[in-house]
């Protein structure tokens, strides 16, 4: 119904006015792809109203930074200085700070504090900053809520260790500590004793000025509500969610279920009413998240926190319900009232409502803790997970098992997981990333639910759900024959064909055939926000075995299915989502239907308005085939979502699915190390010496022959999982075992590791075996650093033209041989003019968005069109340009306690940023600044291993001195600086040399701004060395760390040139560097 004029909201902006939107920067733990989703929806909502949009976000791999999104994009660091300049230049009317996570929020507040907004008359849209400040300052927050009779966790805000001790004493141990102004619960945790408290507070105060010491709510349920309020005070709670794990496990670390399952109406409505009361009192205008602890026995609750911005939870709630929270929040910011906004799912009903779900949603976190040597598996109140998946089913069991498979850790289901858990009860009581599987093991062994509940505080309802799965497992195990009834029961409990087949010595294909014969197939259901109450032409779909009717029939015959990237994890992140979205766009530009399959709620590809049909589903062979059976598309694109869909190419083709682009046989020839090497040999292309592992003795003999170090890597993996450099035989033995564990079905390969070689990559698109477009990227760091962790420049700045020509030549030959159509990525090693090929990927690579935006050629759209048969040949200039673009990794080491923050062959970064510059060094420094680097102002600490490295860095150390920086150094480095270079230096004792007054205390006391540490030869074995302790201390105390030779040189030169005025850090938009798109 239409809202009478007099009740329509007052619009806050006029057509043609300008809005500045702040992004969230590089992906890090606690702040991931969800903000690409929220920022993108915000930009869409503003553009629909004719508002000019300017976006600052250095995250080049996002959809929101595309040239068809905001009118202007600045790939620049999200700092007060930079954004101030952007404001001076762009003169925006308003600022939106709630769509870019904590980064944007903090930055927006800082801009206000600095008086920039007032000076330039920039209004903040949406929730007023006064309200945001109330939610961010925990003391203020507690006071405000108590004013309206709302219970908050008892807490004391402290600014020093003494007060912290007093507060803890008052509350009694254990207590909970939480850092104010931090995302994802950073610096938070349960503290059992005073010594532990002191350590935690020390670390905490290095990052934040205020820490809360709170009552510990062990065993309470954790519940969240997503609330939307407009300026006219209409208020709805769009979704509530219940954590599987009780209080004590961060919501980002917990399995979450929506809607809540164990709450009675009274509890549900009590928390809902409190949520609205709080949101009204605070004065939120837009979207907001409120977290509770609930004691089901006494009915007491405590408000834990309020996030007055779009959050990870709001992204999840959006996907879980189909309610576009970010888009609605933006409309509210523009002055719309909720009743004025239509429910986009139905097109007729109102957005002033609360979705009714007729399904169950489960979110499951994805950890990569095993990638970090020496880090603990424990999880708790600090977020460590790097990604998540969402699964939809008609029962808890079904959704849970889907989620387990979607997370792609090699588990086929709850009772079929790769972990060997020696002491399951330990991991149940003290949660680790494998707690769920520890519970499964315990249940399988006959432990009763009551005991597990006692250890874990997980509600028996959830545990009974797990038990029902385990019971079916037992039924399958004891059954002599697989009856159709049992098969159906197993499918309804979420078992995969492969898992079921395993009980009866049958293949997944056998089970599939049997199922189809018996009519046991999943049905497609719609997510429509109204549980079927109104007709909705929604295209948002999932599959279930709890159903008799399909909500949809096959779409058009020429439809194309795109397989997405699944959960974000280290090495596979937002860049593959970007590729998926680009592919959809290209398909739709050909007036063909695009079907998207993905299971990651933090993505834009799973926005239902991006594609023609969205299957929020597992990316497993079985499920892709199920969808294929219903949709019967013309073809499937597997090359956009990274390694997960890429690995399905061959199996799908073998089952008569048409794979678009490069023939899967040829994908296999590139992925299988042996086949690929043979191909290179035949083409006379140089490659490092290699050997496929047959026996350990062979490997040893090989290593001896070619000489250590050698590189070990499994096939068909991304991000260098279990990739290692062995410097000696012991290391080789250990690493081979690790590699064999990771890649059971594919061979492990050893190659000679080339030291001092540079790495160059070509990313491009080919059609019918011809090279069409390509871009070259050059690594700053030498080979030995994973390409995902390297600092990368395009076009190349240091490679000889001769080298470039040779690489291009080799590339053409390989493309022709493999008849490539679509995206590809080739990695080369270069030493002087000699090049050798180390890897080929016949899929979109991590750097695809980077090179596409650096060159402004939409390479993925071109690749997709090529796959669909468009001739994409043309003249594309990617080398001769007047700018340089540098990509820098974004790390999250502060979250992964105990991990060594050193660059290595196995990837460790969680995200990336990229910036443009007129000069190479300018671009390098900008991109580092965008990845949270800060320019050292006073003191730097040097610790350089080995004489060669010291000599090599001599001229650079002099530059540091010339810049007026005071040098601190560890013993040998200090001697070198003092005697060989004749420069003043303060020597600092290593931790092993002196217990106090050493590098650690220097770092703890904030004595240095930046540390340059070049580790000795083999970083993988010195994890207890002084170097490791120093690097770790740097991370834990938020001190800049550069731990790579080439990067050290580059950074020092960049700093020096800036110091001497060779260049300035220009604040220029993307379109000022690269020609505007036509």
């Amino acid at each position: 119904m239409t809202i009478p004029k007099k009740f329509q909201g007052q619009r806050t902006m006029k057509k043609g006015q300008k809005a500045l939107i702040l992004g969230s920067g590089g992906l890090k733990i606690g702040q991931a792809g969800e903000f690409d989703y929220s920022g993108s929806q915000c930009i869409k909502a503003l553009k629909e109203e004719g508002i000019a949009t300017v976006l600052v976000n250095p995250n080049i791999a996002t959809v929101q930074t595309n040239d068809d999104m905001a009118d202007r994009v600045y790939f620049l660091p999200l700092t007060v200085d930079v954004v101030t300049e952007v404001i001076e230049k762009e003169k925006p009317d308003v600022l939106l700070l709630s769509f870019g996570g904590q980064t944007a929020l903090n930055l927006g507040l800082a801009l206000e504090d600095a008086g920039v907004l007032k000076k330039h008359k920039v209004k903040i849209l949406g929730t007023p900053t006064s309200a945001i400040r109330m939610t961010e300052d925990r003391d203020l927050f507690a006071q405000e809520l108590r004013k309206i009779g709302v219970d908050v966790a008892e807490s004391y805000a402290v600014t020093n260790i003494e007060d912290g001790k007093k507060a803890a004493k008052k509350l009694g141990y254990p207590v909970m500590i939480r850092a104010a102004f931090a995302l994802g619960g950073k610096g938070s945790g349960r503290v059992n004793s005073e010594p532990e408290l002191i350590t935690m507070l020390q670390e905490g105060f290095a990052n934040v000025p205020q820490i809360l010491v709170e009552e510990y709510l062990k065993g309470w349920k954790e519940i969240e509500y997503e609330v939307v309020r407009d300026a006219a005070d209409n208020c709805v709670t769009v979704c509530n969610m219940e954590n599987f794990d009780a209080m004590g496990v961060h919501t980002g670390e917990s399995i979450v279920i929506a809607p809540s399952q164990t709450l009675s109406n009274r509890e549900y409505q009590m928390l809902r009413t409190v949520a609205q009361k709080v949101v009204r009192h605070l004065g939120v205008v837009g979207e907001c998240n409120i977290q509770y602890a609930l004691n089901a026995v006494t009915g007491e609750y405590r408000v834990i926190e309020v996030n007055a911005r779009l959050s990870r939870s709001s992204a999840l709630a959006s996907k879980a319900t189909g309610y576009p929270l970010a888009w609605v929040a933006a409309k509210i910011g523009l002055g719309y009232t909720l009743p004025e906004i239509k429910n986009a799912m139905t097109g007729v009903t109102s957005a002033a409502f609360e979705p009714a779900l007729d399904y169950v949603v489960i979110k499951m976190p994805r950890w990569d803790l095993q990638k970090f040597k020496a880090s603990s598996r424990r999880i708790g109140t600090e977020m460590k997970s790097v990604g998540e998946v969402m699964a939809i089913g008609r029962t808890f069991e079904e959704a849970l098992q889907k989620a387990i498979r979607s997370i792609s850790i090699g588990a086929d289901g709850l009772t079929s997981h790769p972990h060997e858990i020696d002491r399951p009860f330990d991991e149940i009581e003290f949660p680790t990333d494998r707690r769920l599987y520890a519970i499964a093991d315990a249940l399988l062994a006959g432990t009763d639910v009551a005991k597990i509940n006692k250890l874990s505080d997980i509600d028996p309802w959830f545990l009974n759900g797990l038990k029902r799965i385990v019971d079916v497992h037992k039924q399958l195990k004891s059954a002599k024959v697989l009856t159709p009834e049992l098969l159906k029961t197993a499918k309804q409990h979420g078992f995969s064909d492969k898992q079921i087949g395993g009980f009866f010595k049958q293949s997944a294909d056998d089970i599939r055939a049997l199922r189809k014969k018996k009519g046991i197939v999943p049905v497609v259901k719609r997510i429509d926000t109204l549980a079927g109450e109104f007709p909705a032409q929604s295209n948002y779909l999932y599959m279930t075995y709890h159903g008799t009717e399909n909500d949809v029939v096959a779409g058009s015959k020429d439809a194309v299915m795109v397989l997405g990237g699944g959960s974000y994890r280290i090495g596979s992140s937002v860049e593959f989502d970007w590729c998926s979205v680009e592919a959809i766009k290209a398909i739709q530009s050909k007036k063909r239907q695009a079907i998207m399959v993905n299971c990651n709620p933090e993505t834009v590809s799973t926005d239902y308005d991006m594609c023609d049909r969205l299957y929020f589903e597992e990316l497993t062979l079985e499920r892709v085939l199920d969808i294929h059976d219903v949709e019967k598309p013309a073809g499937v694109i597997v090359s956009m979502g990274g390694q997960i869909p890429n690995n399905l190419a061959m199996p799908l083709m073998e089952r008569k699915v048409k794979i678009l682009g490069t023939d899967p046989h040829n994908i296999d020839r590139a992925e299988d190390r042996k086949k690929f090497s043979q191909l290179l040999d035949r083409l006379n292309v140089v490659q490092p010496e290699w050997k496929e592992l047959a026996a350990l003795s062979d490997a040893k003999a090989f290593a001896k022959r070619v000489g250590y170090p050698v590189l070990i890597r499994p096939s068909y993996v991304l991000s260098g999982a279990a990739m290692n450099i062995a410097h000696n035989e012991d290391a080789l033995t250990q690493f081979l075992k690790e590699a064999a564990d990771v890649s059971k079905e594919h061979p492990v390969v050893i190659t000679k590791f080339m030291e001092d070689a540079r790495e160059i990559e070509i990313d491009g698109v080919a059609q019918n075996g011809e090279l069409v477009i390509y871009a070259l990227t050059e690594h700053v760091e030498n080979a030995g650093v994973h390409s995902g962790d390297a600092t990368i420049a395009t076009p190349p700045q240091k490679s000889y033209l001769e080298t470039v020509r040779r690489m291009k030549h080799v590339t053409r030959e390989i493309i022709a041989q493999l008849e490539i159509t679509g995206p590809f990525n080739i990695q080369f090693l270069a030493k002087r003019n000699e090049i050798s090929v180390i890897e080929l990927n016949l899929r979109a690579s991590r750097s695809m968005p980077f090179v596409s935006k650096a060159t402004k050629y939409p390479m993925i759209q071109m690749a997709t069109r090529a796959m669909l048969g468009d001739d994409i040949h043309g003249n594309y200039n990617t080398l001769d340009v007047d700018y340089v673009v540098v990509k820098a990794p974004q790390f999250s080491y502060s979250r992964i306690k105990g991990a060594d923050p050193v660059l290595y062959v196995e990837m460790g970064s969680t995200g990336e940023v990229a910036t443009f510059g007129r000069y190479y060094r300018e671009a390098v420094l900008k991109s580092l600044l965008a990845a949270d680097f800060r320019i050292p102002k006073k003191n730097v600490l040097l610790s350089i291993g080995g004489d060669k490295a010291k000599q090599e860095l001599a001229p650079y150390i002099k530059k540091l001195h010339k810049m007026g920086l005071h040098l601190y150094a560890t013993k040998h480095t200090a001697q070198f600086i003092r005697y060989d270079l004749g420069l003043p230096v303060t020597e600092v004792a290593k931790m092993s040399e002196r217990a106090t007054d050493n590098t650690l205390s220097l770092i703890q006391d904030g004595g240095v701004d930046c540390i340059f540490n070049i580790p000795t030869i083999d970083p993988s074995t010195d994890d207890l060395s002084n170097g490791f302790l120093m690097r770790r201390a740097a991370i834990d105390h938020n001190v800049q760390l550069i731990a790579n030779m080439q990067l050290t040189k580059t950074v020092i030169m960049a700093l020096y040139d800036l110091y001497t005025g060779e260049y300035t850090l220009e604040v220029k938009a993307w379109d000022e560097y690269v020609r505007p798109t036509k």
Partner: protein, 360 residues
Amino acid sequence: MKKRIASIPATLFLQDGHRFTGQGFGSQKNTDGEVVFATGMVGYPESFTDPSFEGQIFVATFPLMGNYGVPEHPFESDAVHIRAVVCQQYTEDYSHPHAKQSLSDWLADNDIPGISGIDTRALTQHLRETGNQVGVIVFGNNPKKPDFKKIVDPNTLNLVDVVSPKEVQEYNMQNAETKILLVDCGMKNNILQEFLKRDVGVKRVPWNYDYRAELKDFDGLFVSNGPGDPATLTETVGYLRDAMKTGLPIFGICLGSQLMGLASGAKTYKLKYGHRSQNQPCIDTTTGRCYLTTQNHGFAVDEKTLKKDWNVWFYNANDGSVEGIYHKTKPFISVQFHPESTPGPEDTTFLFDEFLKRIR
């Protein structure tokens, strides 16, 4: 805790020939009723005891049923009023510190059957397209198709007479300064609680009680919710019409709102499949504010037939149907939704204060 009887197959037959087979729980008793769907995700004990569900087979769109068991106290009335429940998955493994028994045991105690394992989304969509209709639940393997000619459509019965109390009851009448006469057509308990909470004295009377001579002793008149077609309640409407002549403040909820509409001279009609949910947005025409409401009704006041001295108070923001009316000059107000909630959002409990403002 009681031992659960092994579940046996059960089939829901619809009048139009469709059938849905699943597993029984609760009482294993064949039954019939009007098949309606409800989209609330929480609050089954409250819903099942809501007298407005009298005569109805309750299809839950939310797939899981029974998660938190059933607590000790009855909820919106002393009895279970649904005739049966149909859901996707029933769980006996309930969990809640306040639960006293499982949903299945509670239903069995009240001789109410349930069926799980039904594609309730498909069933809901079917009902949405064809409208609510009569259905029959038959237990056992190979059930015989029932003879629908023999089944009585509950809408043809006076369901209000079934659920309305037979006796007059008084609450807080001695002490309260404000006293209302409450016509109980199948009232939810929480309505009474909302009045008592506000220190109102309540005389609760049956649906067909002739209160006209007593009105002078009261400050206001309230007409409750209840099941079925309002047009069959000519007695209630007649008394109400006379009450309106006195100018005494009147408040009606749900069926009470429809009865007020009829008494004012307007007409009511049957919605195709009714509103049974906890997420219905209703817009106050006097302020433009929108509230989330719980609803449970199959009939509505026809806006076109409203007399000229009456206005629409609330519209349903989804389908534009009338959700409340008020008299332009006299203190007569009514809402189609349930401000007392239980289950559902508590956004509109302030309406009880609105009514009392007109009295006090």
